[in-house]
């Protein structure tokens, strides 16, 4: 089953309330996904030359301070960081590849959840309410956010198998459905140099998009080709540094609903998750058409029909 939700703010004045608006949306999807939950939030961009990473350890008492100290020594780079439960957000003036290889050496058991300029991914096992409380979602700020509540089918209920997945800078994807050709596609993408951390089917979809974007595709072109390359049932909500997109497979077995006002675009598996949003009774509410891409990007808004 699984539930997916997304909220993209068109009105910057609402940015301080992003977490507060999104928290009830995530929790409304508990019935669709009680096993684990997570979200990718965009905002608080780092300057040119800096990279932002979200790192997660297996337990809350992991000594991140020592790790960051060692990293600082090894890379001799300016950095800034803060801890949030079992995760930290690390901003560092260095190349992403250099940070990744230093982390692989210093702390191979610490997982890199996301990397980019803007994205932070926080996720874990438990009810959506527990996850949002654990990470203090309600007080978070940002421009857009996508989230997932998981009812596991393809792989085990673990922190690693929790969604969302990110396999490219500032790119994140949440998925309701299942892919049938993920095994083969993962092998092909590995040959193209895309790294995968799990055996999860959704990570392959994220990897596919990351690969297409690396090849120079626009988000629209990448999503177009994903309709051909991915075999299975899916509704995706996708976040990029400055954009938000929704797409469903041509058969469209998996539900999706969109709502738009002058202030925001919101997406959910079911309308229930949208009912807490301000002004929803006056919003334009519609079901996205199968095999059709809906994209919103900063400075422009468009629903592009393929």
């Amino acid at each position: 089953m699984c539930g997916i939700v997304g909220l993209y703010l068109k009105n910057p004045a609402l940015e301080p309330q992003l977490g507060k608006l999104f928290e009830p949306m995530l929790e409304a999807m508990t019935d669709r996904g009680p096993d684990s939950a997570g979200f990718a939030i965009y905002g608080d961009e780092v300057a040119d030359g800096w990279v932002k990473l979200t790192l997660q350890a297996a337990s809350d008492d992991y000594d991140f301070k020592a790790l960051v100290g060692a990293l600082e020594g090894k890379l001799a780079a300016s950095l800034d960081w803060f801890q949030n439960a079992s995760a930290i957000v690390l901003k560092i003036k260095a190349e992403e590849a250099a940070v990744r290889s230093a982390l692989a050496e210093l702390a191979p058991d610490v997982r890199i959840m996301s990397a980019g300029k803007s994205i932070e991914i926080l996720k874990g096992m438990g009810l959506p309410k527990e996850i949002s409380e654990r990470f203090g979602l309600g007080s978070m700020k940002g421009s857009h956010i996508i989230g997932h509540t998981r009812m596991a089918t393809e792989s085990a209920v673990t922190m690693e198998g929790s969604h969302p997945f990110s396999t490219g800078a500032d790119l994140c994807l949440v998925h309701n459905g299942s892919l049938s050709n993920h095994f083969r596609l993962r092998q092909e993408l590995r040959r193209e140099g895309i790294q995968f951390d799990t055996e999860n089917d959704t990570e392959v979809a994220a990897g596919y998009l990351a690969w297409r974007l690396q090849q120079g595709d626009s988000l629209k072109t990448a999503l177009d080709s994903s309709l051909e390359a991915l075999d299975g049932f899916f509704t995706f909500a996708i976040g990029t540094r400055n954009g938000f997109a929704v797409i469903r497979d041509p058969i469209a077995c998996k539900p999706a609903i969109l709502a738009e006002t002058d202030d925001y675009v919101a997406m959910a598996s079911e309308y229930q998750a949208l009912s807490s949003l301000p002004g929803i009774e006056k919003a334009k509410v519609w079901e996205p058409v199968p095999a059709t891409m809906y994209i919103w990007e900063r400075e422009s808004a468009q629903g592009a029909r393929t």
Binding site: P255, I257, V285
Partner: protein, 227 residues
């Protein structure tokens, strides 16, 4: 009129109250407020009551309805009026997938659009859609009528039995064994009566009729050797 506020009661309470009072019928008019997309609203009602739902409803709204008249002042999720036996369901907004699925009787009116698989395996219901419908609508439709004032998506009427389909706009593609048929005077008369009953100001002669070519639904004895 009895008002049920789902902001402070449960769907189970609502449905139980609708079932309980159906025996005595002391209250024929019901108003449901703050539905907020809840699933299974007014399901299995089996008396001639009137229910107004003020807002958007979730999945299976008015499912298995008999005799009742149910109006949703908003959109509905998957499976609205699925397996309806009789009565009347009106959706002021749009419907998601599988509206009127497997339904045996009654009238379902959707003022907006309906998603994919509208009227799938319908068995006698009349469905009138003011807007357009999605793909695979009326798949294996057995009886009843599906009327679409807008356009129809891919594979309309695939593996159709005896459901009559009328579409005013464009049909993206017809499904297996579904063909366009002549609109004879009796069809125009029949459709006009249905459009009037559903409250649509449309001219029946603007519609095209589609039905089964009847090549698929009987087993051909010539094919027996294949098994």
């Amino acid at each position: 009129m009895k008002t049920f506020d789902l902001g402070n009661t449960t769907v189970r309470d609502l449905n139980q109250a609708l079932h309980d009072q159906a025996k005595t019928l002391e209250e024929r008019e019901w108003l449901v407020t703050h539905p907020d997309g809840a699933h299974n609203l007014a399901v299995g009602v089996n008396e001639a009551v009137s229910v107004d739902i003020q807002g958007h409803a979730g999945y299976y709204c008015a499912g298995m309805n008999q005799k009742a008249s149910i109006t949703v002042h908003g959109n509905v999720g998957v499976g609205c009026a699925e397996n309806m036996m009789s009565g009347y369901v009106r959706v002021k907004g749009s419907a998601s997938q599988a509206a009127g699925a497997t339904a045996h009787g009654g009238l379902l009116v959707i003022e907006g659009d309906a998603g994919a698989r509208c009227g799938i395996s319908m068995k006698g219901i009349d469905i009138v859609v003011g807007g357009s419908i999605g793909h695979m609508s009326c798949f294996m439709g057995q009886a009843g009528r599906l009327v679409v004032c807008g356009d129809a998506g891919d594979a309309l009427g695939d593996s159709l039995y005896e459901t009559k389909i009328f579409v005013k706009g464009k049909v993206e593609s017809l499904g297996s064994d579904c063909i366009e048929k002549e609109m004879r005077p009796e069809h125009i008369e029949e459709l006009q009566a249905l459009l009037n009953k559903a409250g649509f100001n449309e001219k029946a002669s603007d519609f095209k009729r589609y039905g089964s070519a009847r090549q698929l639904y009987n087993f051909k004895v010539d094919n027996a050797c294949a098994y």
